[in-house]
Protein backbone atom coordinates (compact mmCIF):
# COMPACT_ATOMS: atom_id res chain seq x y z
CA UNK A 1 0.00 0.00 0.00
CA UNK A 2 1.18 3.52 -0.79
CA UNK A 3 0.43 6.31 1.65
CA UNK A 4 0.43 8.80 -1.20
CA UNK A 5 -2.67 7.06 -2.53
CA UNK A 6 -4.39 8.40 0.57
CA UNK A 7 -2.53 11.65 1.27
CA UNK A 8 -2.64 14.71 -1.01
CA UNK A 9 -1.68 18.29 -0.11
CA UNK A 10 -5.34 18.81 0.87
CA UNK A 11 -4.83 16.27 3.63
CA UNK A 12 -2.02 18.23 5.24
CA UNK A 13 -2.18 21.23 7.57
CA UNK A 14 0.99 23.05 8.51
CA UNK A 15 0.78 25.29 11.54
CA UNK A 16 -1.89 23.70 13.69
CA UNK A 17 -3.67 26.31 15.74
CA UNK A 18 -4.86 24.10 18.60
CA UNK A 19 -2.98 24.42 21.86
CA UNK A 20 -4.31 21.38 23.69
CA UNK A 21 -4.62 17.74 22.76
CA UNK A 22 -8.40 18.05 22.40
CA UNK A 23 -8.14 21.14 20.20
CA UNK A 24 -5.58 19.49 17.93
CA UNK A 25 -7.72 16.39 17.51
CA UNK A 26 -10.72 18.56 16.69
CA UNK A 27 -8.64 20.44 14.12
CA UNK A 28 -7.43 17.22 12.52
CA UNK A 29 -10.93 15.74 12.42
CA UNK A 30 -12.15 18.94 10.78
CA UNK A 31 -9.43 18.56 8.14
CA UNK A 32 -10.35 14.93 7.63
CA UNK A 33 -14.07 15.70 7.35
CA UNK A 34 -13.31 18.37 4.78
CA UNK A 35 -11.69 15.72 2.62
CA UNK A 36 -14.31 13.02 2.76
CA UNK A 37 -17.81 13.22 1.42
CA UNK A 38 -20.72 12.39 3.68
CA UNK A 39 -18.59 11.63 6.71
CA UNK A 40 -19.99 12.47 10.10
CA UNK A 41 -17.31 14.64 11.76
CA UNK A 42 -18.98 14.48 15.19
CA UNK A 43 -18.98 10.71 15.11
CA UNK A 44 -15.34 10.59 13.97
CA UNK A 45 -14.35 13.00 16.74
CA UNK A 46 -16.17 10.87 19.29
CA UNK A 47 -14.40 7.60 18.35
CA UNK A 48 -10.97 9.25 18.12
CA UNK A 49 -11.40 10.91 21.52
CA UNK A 50 -12.67 7.66 23.03
CA UNK A 51 -9.59 5.88 21.74
CA UNK A 52 -7.31 8.55 23.21
CA UNK A 53 -8.97 8.14 26.59
CA UNK A 54 -8.00 4.45 26.51
CA UNK A 55 -4.36 5.45 26.11
CA UNK A 56 -2.45 8.25 24.44
CA UNK A 57 -1.19 7.74 20.90
CA UNK A 58 1.63 10.22 21.52
CA UNK A 59 4.83 8.36 20.71
CA UNK A 60 8.47 9.35 21.01
CA UNK A 61 10.36 11.98 19.04
CA UNK A 62 7.46 14.38 18.60
CA UNK A 63 5.14 12.00 16.79
CA UNK A 64 1.51 11.16 17.50
CA UNK A 65 -0.73 8.76 15.60
CA UNK A 66 -4.29 9.23 16.82
CA UNK A 67 -6.45 6.59 15.16
CA UNK A 68 -9.74 4.75 15.36
CA UNK A 69 -12.24 2.71 13.45
CA UNK A 70 -15.53 4.35 12.69
CA UNK A 71 -18.75 3.38 10.93
CA UNK A 72 -19.20 6.99 9.80
CA UNK A 73 -16.67 6.71 6.97
CA UNK A 74 -16.44 4.48 3.90
CA UNK A 75 -12.70 4.14 3.37
CA UNK A 76 -9.40 4.66 5.12
CA UNK A 77 -8.72 8.38 5.66
CA UNK A 78 -5.42 9.92 6.71
CA UNK A 79 -4.59 13.53 7.47
CA UNK A 80 -1.38 15.08 8.72
CA UNK A 81 -1.01 18.06 11.01
CA UNK A 82 2.20 19.83 11.93
CA UNK A 83 2.77 22.06 14.91
CA UNK A 84 5.99 24.09 15.04
CA UNK A 85 5.74 24.80 18.75
CA UNK A 86 4.62 21.35 19.75
CA UNK A 87 1.69 20.25 21.87
CA UNK A 88 1.47 18.23 25.04
CA UNK A 89 -0.07 15.04 23.69
CA UNK A 90 0.83 12.90 26.71
CA UNK A 91 3.64 11.35 24.72
CA UNK A 92 5.67 8.37 25.96
CA UNK A 93 8.78 10.53 26.35
CA UNK A 94 6.72 13.39 27.81
CA UNK A 95 8.07 15.74 25.14
CA UNK A 96 5.86 17.97 22.97
CA UNK A 97 4.41 16.38 19.83
CA UNK A 98 4.95 18.16 16.51
CA UNK A 99 3.82 15.72 13.86
CA UNK A 100 0.32 14.22 13.90
CA UNK A 101 -1.05 11.49 11.68
CA UNK A 102 -4.79 11.06 12.16
CA UNK A 103 -6.01 7.80 10.67
CA UNK A 104 -9.61 6.69 10.64
CA UNK A 105 -10.71 3.44 9.05
CA UNK A 106 -14.12 1.96 8.38
CA UNK A 107 -15.13 -0.92 10.64
CA UNK A 108 -14.66 -3.44 7.84
CA UNK A 109 -11.26 -2.44 6.49
CA UNK A 110 -8.68 -3.19 9.14
CA UNK A 111 -6.03 -4.70 6.88
CA UNK A 112 -5.09 -1.46 5.07
CA UNK A 113 -5.45 0.46 8.33
CA UNK A 114 -2.93 -1.74 10.14
CA UNK A 115 -0.59 -1.66 7.13
CA UNK A 116 -0.77 2.13 6.94
CA UNK A 117 -0.06 2.55 10.64
CA UNK A 118 2.85 0.10 10.45
CA UNK A 119 4.26 1.91 7.43
CA UNK A 120 4.08 5.30 9.14
CA UNK A 121 5.71 3.88 12.27
CA UNK A 122 8.50 2.50 10.09
CA UNK A 123 8.94 5.72 8.11
CA UNK A 124 9.09 8.04 11.09
CA UNK A 125 12.06 6.10 12.43
CA UNK A 126 14.06 7.69 9.59
CA UNK A 127 15.47 10.85 11.19
CA UNK A 128 15.86 12.81 7.94
CA UNK A 129 12.27 12.01 6.92
CA UNK A 130 10.87 13.08 10.25
CA UNK A 131 12.85 16.30 10.13
CA UNK A 132 11.75 17.01 6.54
CA UNK A 133 8.10 16.82 7.55
CA UNK A 134 8.45 18.96 10.64
CA UNK A 135 10.37 21.60 8.68
CA UNK A 136 8.15 21.50 5.57
CA UNK A 137 6.86 24.90 4.51
CA UNK A 138 4.02 23.69 2.30
CA UNK A 139 1.66 20.69 2.23
CA UNK A 140 3.14 19.84 -1.18
CA UNK A 141 6.58 19.42 0.39
CA UNK A 142 5.11 17.03 2.96
CA UNK A 143 3.56 14.85 0.27
CA UNK A 144 6.78 14.99 -1.78
CA UNK A 145 8.80 13.84 1.23
CA UNK A 146 6.45 10.90 1.77
CA UNK A 147 6.61 10.01 -1.94
CA UNK A 148 10.40 10.14 -1.91
CA UNK A 149 10.65 7.70 0.97
CA UNK A 150 8.01 5.44 -0.56
CA UNK A 151 9.99 5.45 -3.80
CA UNK A 152 13.08 4.41 -1.89
CA UNK A 153 14.94 7.64 -2.69
Amino acid sequence: MRLTDYITPDHVKIGLEGETKEEVIEELVELLAGNCEDCDADKVLEVVMNREREGSTGLEKGIAIPHAKCDAIDSLSIVIGISRDGIDFEAIDEKPSHLFFLMVAPMTESGPHVQAIAKIVKMIKIDSFRESLIKAKTPEQVVESIARVENGE
Binding site: R51, E54, H67, S110, G111, I117, V121, M123
Partner: protein, 163 residues
Protein backbone atom coordinates in the same frame (compact mmCIF):
# COMPACT_ATOMS: atom_id res chain seq x y z
CA UNK B 1 -0.19 -35.01 -19.38
CA UNK B 2 -0.64 -35.46 -15.63
CA UNK B 3 1.25 -38.75 -15.70
CA UNK B 4 4.41 -37.04 -16.84
CA UNK B 5 3.82 -33.87 -14.86
CA UNK B 6 5.99 -33.74 -11.74
CA UNK B 7 4.09 -30.70 -10.43
CA UNK B 8 1.31 -32.05 -8.19
CA UNK B 9 0.70 -29.52 -5.45
CA UNK B 10 0.80 -25.75 -5.62
CA UNK B 11 0.63 -23.53 -2.55
CA UNK B 12 -0.53 -19.96 -3.05
CA UNK B 13 0.22 -17.28 -0.47
CA UNK B 14 -2.15 -14.32 -0.35
CA UNK B 15 -2.24 -11.22 1.82
CA UNK B 16 -5.28 -9.56 0.29
CA UNK B 17 -3.26 -7.10 -1.78
CA UNK B 18 -3.81 -6.63 -5.51
CA UNK B 19 -0.51 -8.39 -6.36
CA UNK B 20 -1.62 -11.40 -4.35
CA UNK B 21 -4.87 -11.56 -6.31
CA UNK B 22 -2.81 -11.52 -9.51
CA UNK B 23 -0.77 -14.36 -8.01
CA UNK B 24 -4.04 -16.18 -7.29
CA UNK B 25 -5.09 -15.88 -10.93
CA UNK B 26 -1.72 -17.23 -12.07
CA UNK B 27 -1.85 -20.09 -9.59
CA UNK B 28 -5.32 -21.02 -10.83
CA UNK B 29 -4.08 -20.93 -14.43
CA UNK B 30 -1.17 -23.21 -13.56
CA UNK B 31 -3.25 -25.59 -11.47
CA UNK B 32 -5.69 -25.95 -14.35
CA UNK B 33 -2.98 -26.28 -16.97
CA UNK B 34 -0.96 -28.87 -15.07
CA UNK B 35 -3.84 -30.61 -13.31
CA UNK B 36 -2.43 -29.78 -9.87
CA UNK B 37 -4.05 -29.47 -6.49
CA UNK B 38 -4.12 -25.87 -5.27
CA UNK B 39 -3.96 -24.86 -1.64
CA UNK B 40 -4.14 -21.22 -0.57
CA UNK B 41 -2.84 -19.75 2.66
CA UNK B 42 -3.43 -16.47 4.48
CA UNK B 43 -1.58 -15.60 7.68
CA UNK B 44 -2.86 -13.18 10.30
CA UNK B 45 0.22 -11.08 10.95
CA UNK B 46 0.32 -11.35 14.73
CA UNK B 47 3.94 -10.28 14.69
CA UNK B 48 3.07 -6.88 13.22
CA UNK B 49 0.25 -6.36 15.70
CA UNK B 50 2.62 -7.21 18.55
CA UNK B 51 5.16 -4.72 17.21
CA UNK B 52 2.53 -1.99 17.15
CA UNK B 53 1.55 -2.91 20.70
CA UNK B 54 5.17 -2.78 21.77
CA UNK B 55 5.58 0.62 20.08
CA UNK B 56 2.53 1.69 22.11
CA UNK B 57 0.58 2.62 19.00
CA UNK B 58 -1.97 -0.03 19.98
CA UNK B 59 -3.33 -0.90 23.36
CA UNK B 60 -3.91 -4.55 24.29
CA UNK B 61 -7.65 -4.50 23.73
CA UNK B 62 -7.16 -2.84 20.37
CA UNK B 63 -4.60 -5.43 19.31
CA UNK B 64 -7.08 -8.20 20.04
CA UNK B 65 -9.78 -6.35 18.17
CA UNK B 66 -7.55 -5.91 15.09
CA UNK B 67 -6.49 -9.54 15.30
CA UNK B 68 -10.13 -10.59 15.03
CA UNK B 69 -10.61 -8.16 12.15
CA UNK B 70 -7.58 -9.49 10.27
CA UNK B 71 -8.85 -13.03 10.74
CA UNK B 72 -12.16 -12.02 9.20
CA UNK B 73 -10.28 -10.25 6.38
CA UNK B 74 -8.31 -13.46 5.83
CA UNK B 75 -11.46 -15.55 5.59
CA UNK B 76 -12.89 -13.09 3.10
CA UNK B 77 -9.75 -13.12 0.93
CA UNK B 78 -9.60 -16.92 1.01
CA UNK B 79 -13.26 -17.14 0.04
CA UNK B 80 -12.59 -14.74 -2.81
CA UNK B 81 -9.92 -17.08 -4.20
CA UNK B 82 -12.25 -20.07 -3.74
CA UNK B 83 -14.85 -18.28 -5.86
CA UNK B 84 -12.24 -17.18 -8.39
CA UNK B 85 -11.12 -20.79 -8.81
CA UNK B 86 -14.68 -22.07 -8.87
CA UNK B 87 -15.39 -19.84 -11.86
CA UNK B 88 -12.71 -21.82 -13.69
CA UNK B 89 -14.00 -25.17 -12.43
CA UNK B 90 -11.20 -25.66 -9.89
CA UNK B 91 -11.56 -26.66 -6.24
CA UNK B 92 -9.04 -25.20 -3.81
CA UNK B 93 -8.22 -25.91 -0.20
CA UNK B 94 -7.82 -22.99 2.19
CA UNK B 95 -5.57 -22.55 5.21
CA UNK B 96 -5.69 -19.69 7.72
CA UNK B 97 -2.82 -19.42 10.15
CA UNK B 98 -1.73 -16.85 12.73
CA UNK B 99 1.78 -15.84 13.68
CA UNK B 100 4.93 -14.63 12.00
CA UNK B 101 4.00 -14.63 8.32
CA UNK B 102 7.15 -16.06 6.73
CA UNK B 103 7.47 -18.70 9.42
CA UNK B 104 3.89 -19.85 9.03
CA UNK B 105 4.14 -19.96 5.23
CA UNK B 106 7.37 -21.93 5.52
CA UNK B 107 5.73 -24.34 7.97
CA UNK B 108 2.84 -24.84 5.58
CA UNK B 109 5.28 -25.49 2.73
CA UNK B 110 6.97 -28.19 4.80
CA UNK B 111 3.80 -29.76 6.12
CA UNK B 112 1.89 -29.74 2.83
CA UNK B 113 4.87 -30.97 0.83
CA UNK B 114 4.00 -28.60 -1.98
CA UNK B 115 6.06 -28.57 -5.17
CA UNK B 116 5.73 -24.87 -5.84
CA UNK B 117 4.89 -21.77 -3.83
CA UNK B 118 3.24 -18.92 -5.72
CA UNK B 119 3.21 -15.39 -4.34
CA UNK B 120 2.53 -11.88 -5.56
CA UNK B 121 4.93 -9.19 -6.58
CA UNK B 122 7.18 -8.12 -3.71
CA UNK B 123 6.11 -5.07 -1.73
CA UNK B 124 7.87 -1.74 -1.87
CA UNK B 125 10.67 -1.25 0.60
CA UNK B 126 11.89 1.98 2.15
CA UNK B 127 15.54 0.97 2.30
CA UNK B 128 17.83 -2.00 1.85
CA UNK B 129 17.50 -2.76 5.54
CA UNK B 130 13.75 -2.51 5.25
CA UNK B 131 13.79 -5.17 2.53
CA UNK B 132 14.79 -7.71 5.16
CA UNK B 133 11.47 -7.08 6.88
CA UNK B 134 9.23 -7.19 3.83
CA UNK B 135 7.10 -10.31 4.16
CA UNK B 136 7.39 -11.37 0.53
CA UNK B 137 11.18 -11.15 0.73
CA UNK B 138 11.30 -13.00 4.01
CA UNK B 139 9.18 -15.79 2.56
CA UNK B 140 11.52 -16.05 -0.43
CA UNK B 141 14.50 -16.40 1.89
CA UNK B 142 12.86 -18.81 4.28
CA UNK B 143 10.97 -21.41 2.24
CA UNK B 144 12.65 -24.56 1.03
CA UNK B 145 10.76 -25.09 -2.19
CA UNK B 146 10.68 -23.56 -5.69
CA UNK B 147 8.91 -20.23 -5.50
CA UNK B 148 7.28 -18.21 -8.24
CA UNK B 149 6.82 -14.45 -7.84
CA UNK B 150 4.06 -13.27 -10.14
CA UNK B 151 4.35 -9.93 -11.89
CA UNK B 152 2.57 -8.43 -14.89
CA UNK B 153 -1.02 -7.98 -13.76
CA UNK B 154 -2.43 -7.13 -17.18
CA UNK B 155 -0.92 -10.18 -18.86
CA UNK B 156 -2.03 -12.47 -16.08
CA UNK B 157 -5.55 -11.06 -16.26
CA UNK B 158 -5.67 -11.67 -20.00
CA UNK B 159 -4.48 -15.25 -19.49
CA UNK B 160 -6.99 -15.76 -16.71
CA UNK B 161 -9.86 -14.38 -18.75
CA UNK B 162 -8.93 -16.61 -21.68
CA UNK B 163 -8.95 -19.74 -19.51
Amino acid sequence: MNDINPLKNILLYIDGSEPSITAAQMAIIMAKAFGCALRVIYVVNEDLLSELLKARVFIQMEKMDYERDLEEDGKRYLNYVVKLADRKGLKVETVLRKGVVHEEVSREVDESGCDLLVQGELGEVLSLRDSFYEEGERILRKVKCPTMVVRGRDRVERLFDSL
